[in-house]
């Protein structure tokens, strides 16, 4: 009697069975999906990949005019363009990643109903392709920053800059964790979609994208800092502009909450990835 089997399909998927080894075997596919996203997105556009630059530039200009000039919101003495860009880049990265992952099952049901591969590849590929875009935008920020650093006396960097990859990793992990949880839910409840897009817009204004944390009244400040994006964006600015001390405590809290969210997301996703296909 044969007892050794390469693989096994069971009715109940186990909790915490993430099977990361299998994920590694599909790295070529991941790679290919990222490529597909990047190529297909800019087919038949006039400006092509140039849009990656144009989006944050246009957004920054709009924010500068509306929130800076018209509403007169403080930028903590940082040159407005440099003040808005980190918020715009981090926010766009977060919301693009979230939007790219939270419809995983809805948008790929045709593919998922025909072939097996670890479903996690799809949300991961969305994260990766948005990371590429984000890095390109970061290049834009860096060149502007260097310009100000060399020709003016308006910006002061410090060593926390080295933590930048960590901040961005946190952002990615946050959107992936949330996106995985939401993807399982949107598969079943499509009306969540409308509520989510609305909430996402509100959430932007709950994060220090167009204003500095310093204008938040003291009594709300603690709640405000509980938003994982707040320490990320604020620390980003702290690192490049030395606006104040780095808020270690809030960063650690964010690290903790994002880790918890990502773990929950991965677990739920892996647990439900097959069953979800019956209800999409």
């Amino acid at each position: 009697m044969q007892t050794e089997w390469n693989w096994k399909i069971e009715a109940k998927t186990r909790w915490f069975h993430w099977n990361l080894k299998e994920l590694w075997q599909y790295k070529d596919l991941l790679n290919r999906f990222v490529r597909r996203d990047l190529i297909a997105n800019y087919q038949q556009t006039v400006l092509g990949p140039f849009w990656i630059f144009l989006q944050p530039v246009l957004t920054t200009i709009v924010y500068w005019v509306i929130f800076g000039k018209v509403a007169g919101i403080s930028t903590d003495g940082i040159p407005p363009v440099l003040f808005y860009l980190p918020g715009v880049i981090v926010w766009a990265y977060f919301s693009d990643c979230l939007n790219g992952t939270m419809y995983t099952f809805l948008q790929n049901s045709a593919l998922f109903s025909k072939v097996y591969f670890p479903r996690l590849i799809i949300p991961l590929s969305a994260i990766f392709s948005h990371t590429v875009r984000m890095l390109v935008q970061l290049l834009l920020f860096t060149s502007l920053y260097l310009f100000y650093l060399i020709f003016t006396n308006a910006v002061h960097p410090n060593l926390y800059i080295l933590l930048l990859p960590f901040f961005l990793l946190l952002t990615a992990a946050f959107s992936l964790g949330a996106g995985l949880i939401i993807s399982v839910m949107t598969a079943r409840y499509r009306d969540l979609d409308y509520a989510l897009q609305f909430l996402l817009r509100l959430f932007m204004f709950a994060s220090p994208v167009v204003y500095p944390t310093s204008i938040v009244p003291d009594k709300y400040r603690f709640i405000f800092w509980l938003n994982p994006l707040t320490p990320i964006i604020e620390s980003f600015r702290t690192a490049f502009f030395t606006t104040g001390p780095l808020h270690y405590k809030y960063l650690l809290l964010t690290l903790f909450s994002i880790t918890a969210l990502l773990t929950t997301g991965l677990t739920l996703f892996k647990k439900r990835e097959l069953n979800v296909m019956d209800i999409v």
């Binding site: 390469n6 009715a11 597909r36 097996y116 409840y189």
Partner: protein, 415 residues
């Protein structure tokens, strides 16, 4: 003992029906509220209680290395659900499947093709989706290109391809993957005859020369009979028959095609047919003698049919009767003499004498042809019947050979 590649044990799958899981949060919440909080499981404002259908129930089987196993069954019998479970697209509700080796399933050609990408990009994309590694695709790239015959357009986005080119490219990728276990579902249903021939040829090659295990669902019974070493019949989610293809397919067909020896339609609009022909009645009438109950080799049978002829234009109408046995052999083709008929109800009959057919299972198709070549309608498998054996004065009880069994006298005389 040969290696077992797949072992399925009591695989079952049910789907929920009714209002539960309506896909709307409010409905689901209401349902949950009614069931769990109010403890009122039955009826609340017409909310249906949970009911489900079994798509598969306690299906167990084994497949050994190099075996080609076919699945047949009606639409909705559960074949596709089974393949989906084996391909890990959906999870079973109960039961387990264990296996060895790499599985590739081909439930569709061109899965994941992206219209905006070029043929080259799509070969890689599709290959990876099907589970191939980059190296494997690169090493077979030329072969794939050759097989597909779209070399000239390989750097053109596939949205500019014709359907035929698209299909050829998609199948070329699929044909060049080399898994240990290949799962194929109805891929052959699409595409033209040439394409199907190519598919079957490739599958035969994969199984016989390379010793791969193949699981295959098709409605093309001829293909199944040709390719498979073993066939499983699934009916309403359960395995009802299993074994050597010829026997299993024969008995399956007999059950499936056994529509009756009588069909009648009063309403012309719902009757089988088309704008030219509508069937009113077909009937098989045996002429029993001496209290016979069943048709045996001595029984003459007459096929009666009535149809509405709706094609008013002139032209010679010919009605042909085709007789097949259930292994698919064409026994005979007889037809009426061509003549011009007015539109309206037409009756016809065809008599098959006794002592002519061998004992077997048969089905009849009726073909309506105009002007020799223009086929108006083909009423396929409309009647079916069994001819039982009957023997007298013989010591031989094995299968009597031959398609027909006429009582031509064979006489011997001593000289």
């Amino acid at each position: 003992m040969t290696r077992i590649m797949i072992k399925a044990e009591n695989v079952s799958k049910y789907y929920n029906l009714g209002k539960l899981g309506s896909g709307r949060l409010r409905e689901d919440f209401k349902d949950w509220w009614v069931r769990s909080v109010l403890k009122n499981g039955n009826n609340h404002n017409g909310t249906e209680t949970r009911s489900h259908i079994w798509a598969l129930k306690d299906v167990s089987f084994e497949v050994s290395e190099g075996e080609v196993l076919g699945f047949i069954g009606n639409n909705g019998a559960g074949k596709s659900t089974l393949l989906r479970i084996l391909s890990r697209i959906t999870a079973p509700s109960y039961g387990t499947v264990m296996g060895n080796g790499r599985v590739a399933s081909l439930l569709e050609v061109g899965t994941g093709f992206h219209a905006e990408l070029t043929g080259r990009e799509n070969i890689y994309l599709n290959g990876h989706i099907l589970g191939m590694k980059k190296k494997e695709i690169a090493s077979r790239f030329d072969e794939i290109l050759d097989f597909s015959g779209v070399e000239k357009f390989i750097d053109t986005p596939v949205k500019r391809y014709s359907t035929g080119m698209y299909m050829r490219l998609a199948f070329a990728v699929a044909a060049h993957m080399e898994p240990d276990i290949l799962i194929v579902d109805e891929v052959l249903a699409v595409g033209d005859a040439e394409f199907q021939r190519k598919c079957i040829g490739k599958m035969k090659e994969v199984s016989s020369q390379k010793g791969k295990t193949v699981l295959f669902v098709s409605h093309n019974l001829q293909a199944l009979q040709n390719l498979c070493q073993r066939v499983i019949v699934i009916h309403q989610g359960q395995i009802v028959d299993e074994g050597e293809p010829e026997a299993v397919i024969g008995s399956y067909l007999k059950k499936e095609k056994n529509i009756s020896c009588f069909q009648e339609y009063d309403d012309m609009s719902s009757a089988p047919g088309n704008d030219s022909i509508r069937i009113k009645r077909v009937e098989l009438i045996p002429e029993y003698v001496n209290g016979q109950q069943v048709i045996d080799i001595r029984t003459p049978v007459t096929i009666h049919f009535e149809f509405w002829y709706l094609e008013a234009t002139s032209g010679n109408l010919i009605v042909g009767v085709h007789l097949y046995n259930f292994r698919g052999d064409f026994i005979f083709d007889v037809c009426s003499e061509g003549a011009i008929y007015p539109s309206g109800l037409i009756e016809g009959k065809c008599s098959i004498p006794g002592n002519f057919l061998n004992d077997d299972s048969y089905y009849i198709s009726i073909v309506f042809v105009k002007d020799t070549t223009n086929r108006l309608y083909y009423f396929e498998g409309c009647l079916s019947f069994d001819v039982e054996d009957y023997r007298k004065n013989t010591a031989w009880f094995g299968k009597w050979q031959g398609f027909v069994r006429p009582a031509f006298p064979v006489t011997l005389t001593t000289k």
